[in-house]
């Protein structure tokens, strides 16, 4: 009997230990970001956000160009990805038994697990390869935005679908009984009812693509200049971390930590907002 108790205690201890093993690297990463990255930001609090990267040895420099590039890339990606994902998601919820809705659900579940680097490759092959490139024949920022949009579409679609499925059927019937058209029912009654849920969907999608680097490296390549044209490579925060982190230069490494801190804050902020909206979702009925 006491042997049993001993074994219980041992296993319980191991379970708690595993939680600790999960927490330690997180604490370590946050510590490095805050201490090493924070120190760099504090040493150049304005320059860091407004200046462009400086060659190693020159000293100083910031990530202003990467912030700008990321904003452009994510902005265009949202512009493409949100409407497409949202409209597909609405269909998946409102015509849930139709073959297309079922297929879309199945494909989405595969796509959310799809290697993002492959999305980059396909985008490259179609949009900017030397053979097929229509707008550019080489790495280009718009291709990165397109790849990011493709990555977020299934995520947005699935979350919007979930949001619409929370609407009680009586609301739909009420709308149709008033003689509203499908279009009016969807956009004037149902969509306003789940505004918060749709916001959550967009934020979840944004959080997912904001940290992506592989598809950007593949489609857009690497740039350490200001954003110039959609058909040229543009800088971005994740790729800057990648390049600076792999460099042997101490000041670049410090900036990589600082940029990581900014990126983490950004993504956690978006995640926090998403949770706020989730809580606000659907107070009625």
């Amino acid at each position: 009997m006491s042997l049993k108790k001993l074994r219980d205690a041992l296993y319980t201890g191991l379970a708690y230990l595993s939680l600790l093993l999960l927490a330690v690297p997180l604490a370590w990463i946050l510590f490095e970001c805050i201490v090493r990255g924070g120190a760099y930001i504090l040493s150049r609090p304005v320059e860091f956000f407004t200046d462009i990267g400086r060659p190693p040895g020159v000293g100083g420099g910031g990530i202003g160009h990467a912030i700008q590039g990321s904003l452009y890339m994510l902005g265009l990606a949202l512009l493409i990805g949100v409407p497409v994902g949202m409209l597909a998601g609405i269909y998946m919820a409102e015509r849930r038994d139709s073959p297309i809705a079922k297929a879309a659900r199945f494909v989405s579940d595969i796509l959310v697990e799809f290697p993002t680097i492959l999305v980059g490759i396909v985008t490259y092959a179609f949009l900017v390869s030397k053979v097929t490139g229509l707008l550019a024949t080489g790495p280009a920022a718009f291709a990165a935005s397109f790849a990011l949009a493709m990555i977020m579409i299934p995520i947005v679609a699935r979350s919007v679908e979930t949001a619409f499925l929370t609407i009680p059927n009586e609301v739909r019937e009420g709308a149709y009984a008033l003689g509203l058209l499908d279009r009016q029912t969807v956009f004037r009654v149902l969509l306003p009812a789940v505004r918060a849920g749709v916001m959550t969907a967009v934020l979840i999608g944004l959080a997912k693509i904001a940290g992506e680097s592989a598809p950007i490296i593949v489609t857009n390549g690497i740039s350490n200049f200001w954003f110039s044209k959609w058909t040229e490579p543009a800088p971005s925060i994740p790729v800057l971390i990648y390049v600076y982190g792999l460099s042997p230069f101490k000041e670049w490494q410090a900036q990589a930590w600082a940029a990581s801190l900014i990126l983490l804050l950004l993504i956690m902020g978006v995640g926090f907002l998403a949770r706020r909206f989730t809580k606000k979702m659907w107070t009625g009925a």
């Binding site: 690297p25 796509l111 290697p115 492959l118 490759i121 299934p154 969807v186 956009f187 592989a214």
Partner: protein, 302 residues
């Protein structure tokens, strides 16, 4: 009887159809991109080709496949016990309030971009391990082939597996936790009624959701296979068939990410070919996981 009317759903259905077509579009894009290469070399020679060498224009995928399987597999081996134990601790042992707080911790880990985990691997974890654990392993367990190293390095298969393992853990934990939540209270009550201790009850609970755990770990494996940036930062990027975990390697994704931007012609097509292999491995992992999971949902768990 109902008159046909133009409905907004025709338009919405178009978007849903577009979503459906993305997957075949990806497959077509991969095949199309690799077509130049496939017209020159046989796909079988490509997959079984033992060497990847740019100067000699040799494009064999086997080393990369080996690197992918060994790092992803090892990552899963590391992540699985920790994930299962953590999920059990959170859903079975700790009070809900504490468990909810820990849920935020798990979400936070999941939210770290892979490039930041990679940065930590390059600048913190790798150098730390090479001076401690790796030195110890080489000096004391160096007689084992898996711990032999001609040179002590921070960037090798083990570092890659540790970084990958950490990246897939939060996902595995939350899916396993979801599964455990689905276990009906009656099952646990029945076990307690038989006089089982807490851990015996946990074992019953775990066996109840075994297919769900398997599906979750498969998906986690798929994520490890698909990861590119973080691995490429810590694996050393030297293709080889070395058995030692402390030697560098390359994977399907690292070859692509390191070379794609500058690649042209046959090399670019060969890299897209690697993508095709990744496509096949990754999609089949997801499909197997889905299959197991839908079987679970169709079986005793509803």
């Amino acid at each position: 009887m109902a008159a046909m009317r133009k409905s907004i759903f025709i338009l919405l259905g178009g978007f849903a159809l577009f979503l459906v077509l993305i997957l075949p579009f990806y497959l077509f894009g991969e095949l199309y991109g690799a077509s130049e290469f496939l017209s020159k070399f046989s796909f079988l020679d490509f997959i079984l080709g033992r060497e990847w060498s740019l100067p000699e224009q040799r494009y064999g995928a086997l080393q990369a496949i080996y690197g992918t399987l060994i790092t992803a597999g090892l990552a899963l081996l590391i992540a699985a016990p920790i994930s299962i134990a953590s999920a059990v601790a959170m859903s079975e042992l700790l009070p809900e309030r504490v468990s909810d707080r820990l849920g935020v911790l798990i979400d936070t880990i999941a939210a770290i971009p892979s490039v930041v985990v990679g940065l930590w691997g390059v600048l913190s974890l790798g150098p730390f391990l090479s001076n401690t654990l790796y030195r110890f392993l080489v000096e004391n367990l160096g007689f084992l082939p898996i711990f032999q190293a001609t040179m002590l390095t921070a960037y090798n298969k083990l570092t890659a597996a540790l970084v990958l393992g950490y990246m897939i853990m939060p996902f595995a934990v939350s899916v396993i936790k979801e599964n455990l939540r689905l276990v009906p209270m009656e099952i646990k009550e029945a076990a307690y009624a038989l006089g089982f201790t807490r851990w015996e009850v946990v074992r019953i609970t775990l066996s109840y959701v075994k297919p769900g755990i398997f599906a979750a770990l498969m998906l986690a494996l798929g994520r490890a296979v698909a990861e590119a940036v973080a691995v490429s930062m810590v694996i050393g990027n030297t293709c080889s068939f070395s058995v030692s975990l402390l030697e560098p390697a390359c994977t399907l994704t690292t070859l692509i990410i390191n070379n794609f931007a500058e690649a042209t012609g046959t090399e670019a097509a060969a890299l897209i070919g690697l993508g095709l292999v990744l496509f096949a491995i990754s999609t089949s992992i997801v499909l197997v996981s889905r299959l197991v999971y839908s079987k679970l949902l169709g079986g005793y768990m509803r």
